[in-house]
Symmetry: C2
Subunit: 407 residues, 2 copies
């Protein structure tokens, strides 16, 4: 008998009919002889409706109260899914975040999981019950309701799987698994049977928004193997796990793209200690999420810094730097929106040379100019003009033969 944790997102429980489908799927898993623990999100639309009411009452509603308000969405879902399970003849019980023993820290609406005491869940499992756990929520050490922010239900599922030492953790979602590239862009993209945590992290930070990075990091930290699969069919999905010798032996696991990027370059900065810190500090204070960061010394002897970010942050970034640059007579800001980022990701890169060469050659052959370049141990990322990003993805995907399973 295996213990299976299944996570269902807001779309999967978005209507009463879908809740019945979730119950039916859980029952099948149960009837196949497994212990089942579901982690569920709020019904899609519920959270947005609550946020709308709060914003109608106050421009910036207090985050402690937003947690109290939004945690009700998942609490409703767990009760409804449990009722549907019971109606299908499954002995089930709902578990709030607090009852799941999820203790959190950090600021309200952006909690981090500090600890998880599974004793109540364990007790119910020992009684033969199927559990339905509220995702996205926990309590602070002093008993206040706390939500986990975006992707919080995935995080709950991984944490519950770790604490209960589950055999399998399934993230059931509206995609079939992790693909070598977005199938809407690259028609012959292939679903991956496996991907390593590190690759998944690089894919997540490069625009493949199957899961938030912190859930993957948490899984890696606690060694939770999880599977991303569809809640609409029974196809096997993609296993995410620590790299192992029997993994498909490829150089590049996948290609991900991220649109709506922008570049900001400041030139004419005196090459003195502390200047980069001032610039990055001003951008951080304005809560700009920087992606690529490049610095060098230009031929005029001044430093030059380039950053990429989401294009919606470009105006805010430019404004944040203005007061600082006012004191630097040679400084200039140059911006470029309408760019996109393409990343090739794979642990095989560590042992193979020539990956960048293959990639740049493929882009060159397709007539695509490369802007900025950044690399990690297992990733090469480039910016290109946004109008060419799909061509770029197809060219790189082809160049590495990602449509075919390796021998």
């Amino acid at each position: 008998m295996a213990l299976i944790v299944q996570k269902y997102g807001g779309t999967s429980v978005g209507t009463l009919d879908r809740i019945r489908n979730v119950a039916a799927r859980m029952k099948r898993t149960r009837d196949a002889g497994n212990e089942v623990v579901a982690v569920v999100s709020a019904m899609s639309g519920v959270t947005d409706g609550l946020i709308k009411m709060a914003r109608d009452l106050a421009e910036n509603p207090c985050e402690r109260e937003m947690d109290v308000l939004l945690a009700t969405g998942e609490q409703q879902s767990i009760a409804l899914v449990t009722i549907a399970l019971q109606d299908a003849g499954v002995d089930a019980v709902s578990i709030t975040g607090r009852q799941a023993g999820i203790q959190t820290t950090g600021s309200h609406t952006r909690g981090r999981i500090l600890n998880l005491d599974p004793s109540l869940m364990r007790g119910f499992l020992n009684e033969g019950k199927t559990l339905v756990v509220a995702g996205f929520q926990g309590v602070t050490p002093d008993g206040m309701i706390h939500t986990l922010g975006r992707g919080g239900s995935d995080l709950t599922a991984i944490a519950v799987a770790a604490a209960l030492k589950a055999d399998v953790c399934q993230i059931l979602t509206d995609v079939d698994g992790v693909y070598t590239c977005d199938p809407r862009v690259v028609k012959n993209a292939r679903k991956l049977p496996e991907i390593s945590y590190d690759e998944m992290l690089e894919m997540a930070s490069s625009g493949s928004k199957v899961m938030q990075s912190r859930s993957v990091e948490f899984a890696k930290k606690f060694g939770v193997v999880f599977e991303v699969r569809s809640s609409l069919n029974d196809n096997p999905g993609t296993l995410v796990l620590e790299e192992h010798p029997n993994m498909e032996n490829v150089v590049i696991r996948g290609v991900s793209i991220e649109r709506s990027q922008a570049r900001l370059t400041v030139t004419g900065i005196p090459d003195e200690p502390g200047m980069s810190g001032l610039i990055l500090g001003a951008l951080a204070a304005a809560e700009i999420n920087l992606d690529m960061i490049l610095s060098n010394i230009a031929h005029d002897g001044f430093a030059r810094h380039s950053f990429t970010m989401h294009s919606s942050d470009l105006g805010k970034a430019q404004a944040a730097l203005k007061p600082l640059l006012a004191d630097l007579p040679h400084s200039k800001i140059e911006t470029e929106a309408g760019i996109a980022k393409l990343s090739a990701v794979g642990i095989g890169m560590r042992s193979h040379s020539g990956v960048a060469a293959t990639m740049f050659k493929a882009l060159g052959n397709a007539g695509i100019n490369i802007g900025m370049i950044s690399t990690s141990e297992i990733k090469i990322a480039v910016t290109v003009d946004e109008t060419r990003i799909e061509d770029a993805a197809r060219a790189v995907h082809d160049a590495f033969g990602l449509d075919k399973a390796p021998a």
Copy 2:
């Protein structure tokens, strides 16, 4: 500085505008130099919507899960009211039933308050905060969410007032107070400045549904003086408290009516020990709430039992008795629907004789036949034909001069 507990029902927080009104009223109370603790219900309609979803999923949804589901209604209200208060510049904080330290016992959806540990609330009050407490809910000793059933928010308010030793407990509702009779029936009915717990209990059990009996019983037990008043204006309402020498010196405090009653009479029952127990046991097993119960021996030597109940229970009651009576060859069932009950209530009755005579004479003069009669130490109740109940109420109200304040 007084500590004032205010209870707002579902209608009072039924829209965002009404929530703003509640916040404004609380702010006024606060600005007048008081500590304020509000107990709020779910926004009207929310609870019904949740029940509808649950019933769509299962005919008889599990009561434990209904508690988990329905408790979200009040949790949403406390967050929204708190956000509105903060927007109005009041330093406020929401408190769930669990955080209010409300420990409960009894079956799910019908919890009773076992204990209330106000230490968290006391701490927030000491910090100068205004509190918004979720009505209708608590937790069982083993940490499961528990709701208190109908009128549960009133009960929460009384319990919070008792635990915090509040100076005043205001039950803010859509009526102005407790009247000598329903003003829709008796035009010159008078709002009472005060009423004793015992009278309020008899009024509640006789159809004046301002509050559930158990909230009044709880207030009496813990000596909580409370005031029933309107949430729509600032008129003083009715104080409910232990009787005292300076209360208005009247024989009858008020008259209440209850419509849609029915009578069931069984005749031809052998006059043997245990027979009444069998009959009452069968009706209790069918969960029939009996009101009046009359038994006597008829001239034929057989026993005769009459009961009144809500007319919607009549069919169920008759069916419940059928198997029992099948073994009693002389037994017969006789039913009468379309009756109503009129009760005259007053602690003055204890020291005044002739109350029944005045009441029966008034009804006789109005040409109204009396059916069954029952009495308690401070109440006389009669059944009359439902078509005559309003005439009956006016006749009795006039006979005791209830429209005029006593000298």
